[in-house]
Symmetry: C2
Subunit: 399 residues, 2 copies
């Protein structure tokens, strides 16, 4: 319903220019140029039990403006403050927005580390390229986030399960109602001290297998961390909540394949009754599945640490019908979501066709044994108790 | 990758409250309460040839805040100005945004009318409900838009093809990184004086039939005017532009059904060689198609005015293969996009499987006869030369 012709001619003319400035010419993102303005009123850390996820924010933020002609401007770390944007900015109208979520942890030797930030930066660049927002050198943004954390290091909470949640975000700021490739953008990073997902161990959740709403599809953007993938999933979640389920287990296609849970990836563990062999399974990265960093870490740790005579680790299609049938045969062992916040989130029941498929838990506990094991492996790396390649990267120093 | 458990428990608790305040309790949108602050520096109208769609804006804007507890606040008409928003606002992260596009016209008797604004308001409420943003009384917003136009009436351009493009927008403003039902929102309306789509008659466009990217999916939100539907379509448009096509003709499914073109609905006209009967066809509203006001108007005018002995008017599935086959047989008469900006936008060729399907045009002209006829019927109603029910609604007075 736009001035289609005008903008199309515009985009057609613009395309070669856009490609050129994406690859050469305009200034790259450069962490060494950062300008730091410290707050005059630094806050004191809140008690751990008063931290509210994504609501308690740190004192500073990082902003970097971009425009097609000049490229990335001087990065600024400055007191957390409101953004001032023209109401015609394309982020308000056409969904030019993407984000990442990652965490920073205090280590026993007083460093602050981030968990696999290179994976988040790589995904952020893929998200940006998919909606024609500018890309950047991953290491430069990691360095800048480190400098941001350094300003607010006293606000990185202490204690097992506590961390600093970091939210890099990019929005299109072109102030014109024509739908076109944004010629201006803003990259910003804000941070929120957060507590453990489960204050006292796990709390297994109940899911509704959902086939009346579709989260993502082939040829769409379900594998990118775009704003577009989130708002449409809230109403189905409310509908599931009204039936007593905390989250949607997203199915896809006539096969009712399992794709994700809520905003997490999902894993199932089965055991073949005949052979005794166990299998850990998750959906393959076919463009409809978010390329979760925790998902990737779980697969790698499972492949490294689980006995291959006992376990198969598979990325394959599997349906809610397979889950229902294998549960009925006693072959369903465990199920859990995986994501940055909870690492693993155990599942205790799945509503499907008016009945609940029960997922076994350890007696008197809120997870199965594999779920627990995987969570502890990852936590040990995140909190600096174990080393795993370069998964934990030092980004700031507490001393 | 969010603090899934926390927010789920939050949403589960919140749902009944949310439903309650949506229907009762909190204040409704009330146009009679509007507070008007006029600019101290009113602008002069630009010459018609300097108007840039969506870039030249009027002097005033309408804003109305909403929160779950209090409902709709006092509407404000005030000088056009930047929005100031917390960087954690959910509009920047999770795509909580929707919009409408409609036009106001000067009539021969010095009124300003809007074309079928009730249709846009109805659709805006459907968009809002789909992503859990607040709904409102349609007539109240129409009245408020009228008052906004009244402030800037001198900026509604004169001349055939000129109009005021109006952009009602709603964004979620909850400043928390938890993905949840927004408890705060902002409705705003801005306006842009615009020129005719085609300054000198039609200019037919070339489309690329696109099956490598998918605009919308059953169970998705393709029928709603959400930001989520727009940004992901820009990259495929650039790819098509690189091959010499101005827009994507969006196909769906293994049948390669035709759904939309760019951000417009699309119509095809065929003639059966055996029977001589003509058919005007567009895709049915199955949840993947935007419920276009122009689409609806074209269907209604065609059903009222075209001879039923000569024409069938059908909303049905049809594929690019059908178009290719019928073009080869000489049965393809015309094709055009439909939308608020261009009303109808004629198509002259469609790239498919490495070849162009040519669409006939009138000799020496840029459209077929039906396309031209439909455009003139609608223009006559929009510019107040013909009356059609309550399609043209007076919203302001130039005197």
């Amino acid at each position: 319903m736009m001035l289609q012709g005008q903008r199309l001619r515009g985009v057609a003319r613009m395309a070669p220019l856009w490609r050129r400035t994406m690859t050469t010419g305009a200034a790259p993102l450069d962490a060494s140029k950062v300008k730091i303005t410290r707050t005059k009123t630094p806050s004191k850390p809140k008690p751990n039990d008063e931290l509210v996820f994504g609501k308690t924010m740190t004192d500073h933020m990082l902003t970097v403006e971009w425009d097609r002609t000049n490229g990335w401007a001087v990065p600024e770390i400055k007191p957390y403050s409101k953004l001032s944007l023209d109401p015609a900015s394309c982020v308000f109208h056409y969904g030019f927005e993407l984000f990442e979520g990652l965490k920073a942890y205090r280590t026993p030797d007083d460093k602050i580390t981030m968990f696999r930030p290179d994976m988040n930066m790589k995904r952020m660049n893929k998200s940006a390229a998919r909606i024609c927002l500018p890309t950047f050198d991953s290491q430069e943004l990691i360095t800048l986030i480190g400098k941001l954390i350094q300003q607010d290091k006293h606000l990185v909470p202490q204690g097992t399960g506590y961390s600093l949640y970091i939210r890099p975000t990019m929005i299109g700021t072109t102030d014109s109602l024509g739908v076109s490739v944004p010629d201006k953008a803003l990259l910003f990073v804000i941070a929120s001290p957060v507590g453990p997902y489960y204050k006292t161990g796990f709390k297994a959740v109940r899911l509704e297998a959902t086939d009346y709403a579709t989260r993502a599809w082939p040829g769409g953007v379900g594998d990118k961390k775009l704003g577009a993938n989130y708002a449409p999933c809230i109403l189905p979640q409310l509908q599931a909540a009204g039936r007593g389920y905390q989250q949607n287990l997203w199915l896809f296609g006539p096969e009712k394949n399992i794709t994700e849970v809520g905003t997490m990836n999902v894993f199932f563990a089965f055991q073949d009754k005949n052979t005794g062999k166990k299998e850990l399974v998750t959906a393959p990265l076919d463009g409809t599945i978010l390329e979760g960093v925790t998902r990737d870490s779980i697969l790698e740790l499972a492949r490294e640490n689980l006995d291959p005579n006992e376990w198969e680790i598979n990325e394959r299609y599997y349906s809610i019908n397979e889950v229902a049938e294998r549960a009925a045969k006693g072959e369903l062992l465990e199920a859990f979501g995986s994501g940055t916040a909870a690492v693993v989130s155990p599942i205790k029941a799945i509503g499907w066709q008016g009945k609940d498929i029960d997922v076994p838990l350890l007696p008197g506990e809120q997870s199965g044994p594999l779920t627990k094991q995987l969570a502890s492996w990852i936590a040990a790396i995140q909190y600096g108790k174990e080393k795993h390649g370069n998964w934990s990267q030092v980004v700031a120093d507490l001393k």
